[in-house]
Subunit: 334 residues, 2 copies
């Protein structure tokens, strides 16, 4: 049997998660029982939601017990199957955990359709980050053509797909990102009509006013805090605010207090939170739409690939420091 390299969660983060919260170990992979498969992990996705799983948990996900394998989604190849309909060589996606050779029940594995996209597409523009952008904009945000859209963390895993969906749907899109390189990417590769480098702006509200001269119909928020507060000031009548992420609040010494909810009321606006897991039954719809846009070339997703399972804890820290350039993934094997 191969060796299963693992990362165990050993401490709960107070602010930014990173290597100090994990220990590595190695155990023999477990032979599959009836109904199970032994897998070789190919890619792991590094996502903001992991921070919640490491501490308090969420509505859909309890906190990970200390001493257990770190939870995380990814793509794997079947090495040995004792489950019907699953054969060695099949490629699946699953909540694999941070381990190189998990053995999992087949009911937790979804075979992926390599006709829809490559393995890299499935971890990227057909992955959960992209599906999150799809439902956030369309279902929660009720995106309409000609909407003036603002997206924060626009070069991140969810943000870059959100910018592109809005552009594809004939909206005017302004993108907030940190640094000149991310802003150039949002403009040149993703098609944002205006960009805001929040690290270079002393007055974020004024910068939003310049980038969104007619105001905002839909704000897709991946960061929360002061950025959300500034965006609220520029809402138009019947605006929608999609609360997708709040990465700015993770490392905050104390939570930022939002002062501009009065504007939301004044413009008859709506603010709504969501978690993509609530759309589980409709993932195929999103992926069909996204795959069609991949094929016609209107959608792309830049991956930031870290090589080797050893990098996973560092990747998590990079994500929360905003150091990744594109959707962050770990390549565990090829």
């Amino acid at each position: 049997m191969p060796t299963n390299q693992r990362w165990l969660l050993t401490a709960r983060p107070v602010d930014i998660p990173g290597p100090q919260h994990f220990v590595a170990d190695a155990v023999p992979a477990r032979a599959p029982h009836a109904g199970e498969a032994l897998l070789e992990t190919l890619y792991l996705s590094i996502d903001p939601a992991m921070r919640s799983w490491m501490s308090a948990g969420t509505l859909y996900q309890q906190a990970i017990p200390l001493g257990e394998v770190m939870r995380g989604g990814g793509i794997a190849r079947v090495l040995e199957s004792r489950a019907e309909g699953l054969a060695a060589g099949d490629v699946v996606q699953a909540r694999l955990g941070w381990q190189s050779h998990p053995t999992l029940a087949a009911r937790y594995l979804q075979k992926i359709d390599l006709g829809l996209g490559t393995i890299e597409d499935w971890i990227g523009p057909l992955g959960l980050s992209a599906v999150t952008a799809y439902f956030g904009l369309r279902d929660i945000g009720a995106l309409r053509p000609n909407d003036r859209v603002l997206v924060s963390a626009a070069a991140g895993g969810v943000g870059q797909v959100a910018v592109q969906i809005a552009r594809i749907e004939a909206c005017r899109v302004a993108a907030i990102a940190g640094g000149a390189e991310k802003c150039a990417y949002a403009r040149d590769a993703l098609g944002a009509h205006a960009t805001i480098d929040y690290k270079a702006e002393a007055d974020l509200s004024a910068a939003i006013a310049r980038a969104c001269p007619d105001g905002i119909d839909l704000y897709f928020d991946n960061v929360g805090g002061a950025t959300l507060d500034a965006a609220l000031e520029h809402l138009r009548e019947n605006a929608r605010v999609v609360l997708c992420g709040r990465i700015s609040q993770t490392a905050a010494a104390e939570p930022y207090g939002i002062r501009n909810l009065g504007k939301l009321a004044a413009v008859h606006g709506r603010m709504q939170g969501f978690l993509v897991f609530g759309y589980h039954a409709r993932y195929d719809e999103a992926r069909t739409w996204l795959a069609a846009r991949l094929r016609d070339g209107s959608l792309r997703q830049r991956l930031h690939v870290l090589e080797g399972l050893a990098q996973a804890p560092l990747g998590l820290r990079m994500l929360f420091r905003g150091e990744n350039m594109g959707k962050l993934v770990v390549r565990v094997a090829s």
Copy 2:
């Protein structure tokens, strides 16, 4: 011609509005031109929205120019008509302004149906405060039977109707009000299942937890600020927060910062602001529903009546100090 007693707006309030922002005058009433009617004001409604009209204005209402008659809605009797379909003795509702004998174009006057309710019903439980509660709960809040509902300012003009609509629709209702008398009213007269006297509670969040032991599906917010923040902590999955008013923020030295929006996101919740004027085309629907509940005895609205136009500026101050017990109105004539 009769004398038209008026209150003119002469200063813009910084915090609580009151007599210092008005001067009284008296001018001869103006004889109606073709298409107009001379009116005798019977009741004026004193509403939180007036504070916005006195300063910055709202999406639907520009600020009142200094030196002009204070804006306000009410009910009047036609003294003399030069408009088709309108005769002396008819009773109308309109944006009358704070004056005893306005002369207005007939197109701004709606004849009221005294078959649906009395004049007191039309200023009370068929008035705009009640219509606001109706659309706020049903359209914005998507009220459903068995919802756990929390209403703030529950003894106020909008709040007391909101409590009753929720109770009529088979919800469990908790009511927040200031003082033992208002809480007793909410419980005994309005049918709230639990009450919270915010003036007597050091820890509002803990008090909400006791009053709403299973959490909150729908929070109807009339006050904003710290009360809203505390309510957010107790939202259930798919909760809805209706931003109807923010009276706590009017006199605040600086705006309260909301810290618990993360909870809204975590429970897949929705927060939405609204102004009743957006529902203008559907007022009849609301009034038909409300009148039926008045007839069957399931709905009531306590009026707090101030006698005489002279009291109007004091009434406004009472409203913002929370000193009224029920929907606040000024009786100008009988």
